[in-house]
Subunit: 188 residues, 2 copies
């Protein structure tokens, strides 16, 4: 399911992104987004709890995918490989949406309130990953460390994928960042 | 300078923490904090921009210490050792304030709006660290990765220091988490 999906939901997301880029996030109302999408304000609120959520509508799907992948990993797989594989598995989730992701990142980067929301989503993702590791028998602080490290890998790889300088393959971005992390933390 | 510092500023911080714990953060006003501290509301706002900032008054000092330590590190020092040393150097900054830190963490943990502010502070710290590494000639994404990893080490070590299960020495907590990170990312 791409961000350029048809139907009211897809139109609302695209309209919101356009308006946030044109007028700024603070200056845009849910009513205006609905109007541009050709639906009522009530329809807007049937899909999204507020105008920030339009940009984060897929974060719970993403979290479910990552947690499921961690739970499905072979029991003997090391935490860093488990979280790396789970992140690589997100490639189809983002596939084809790089242009959308780029616009979305620009809008979020321009607004502190959207940045806060994004940070909260990352923090929630890290907690869910840590819990998934604890259920696999990983203790603390290893579970928290693997989770925070996994989210860091995701964040840096996602930024690199959006820029698309080296590669536009999301899974390859994840593998590269994981390699760089290993180089960073390796002994002298 | 401990959090139990004398004077209006220290009294305001202690009063805020007490009231947030007793009534909840949302239910407490700046005026009530000022009243308990025995100062006027105007005095409160001379020290703090809002009631959230009372709990984050030292974050810019902390950031300055970390950035200065990175800038002062030998040019040949590896990024992971540089950021680890900078974090260890925070030990005197926290020394003696573990009880305060524990209460503060409980208050933040109970309020989403305070959690958002804390996440934003961590994100600002990571950006400042990444910039410090870029000034040392570290490229991207290595600079961002070292910065995010440094903040992760700080967060996990700080939690471990607050719990005080293994050790109450902050620098030792940093070294332990760095060792655990190395074990996490080492090849199979």
């Amino acid at each position: 399911m791409g961000r350029w999906e048809p139907g009211a939901r897809g139109r609302l997301i695209r309209s919101a992104l356009e308006l946030y880029a044109e007028r700024g996030f603070e200056q845009t109302t849910a009513g205006e987004i609905a109007q541009r999408a050709g639906v009522t304000e009530r329809t807007f609120f049937r899909y999204f709890s507020d105008k920030r959520e339009v940009l984060f509508d897929r974060s719970s799907d993403l979290q479910t995918l990552v947690v499921d992948a961690i739970e499905a990993a072979p029991p003997a797989m090391r935490p860093i490989d488990t979280v790396g594989t789970a992140m690589e598995g997100l490639a189809p989730f983002f596939s084809g949406d790089r242009e959308f992701a780029r616009h979305r990142a620009a809008v979020i980067g321009a607004n502190p309130s959207l940045q806060e929301r994004e940070l909260l989503k990352f923090s929630t993702l890290a907690s869910a990953i840590a819990d998934a590791f604890r259920r696999r028998g990983v203790g603390d602080p290893a579970a928290g460390l693997a989770a925070e490290t996994g989210v860091t890998i995701f964040k840096i790889a996602y930024e690199s994928w959006i820029r698309g300088e080296a590669t536009s393959d999301f899974a390859e971005c994840i593998r590269e960042v994981l390699d760089q992390l290993r180089a960073l933390t390796a002994g002298a």
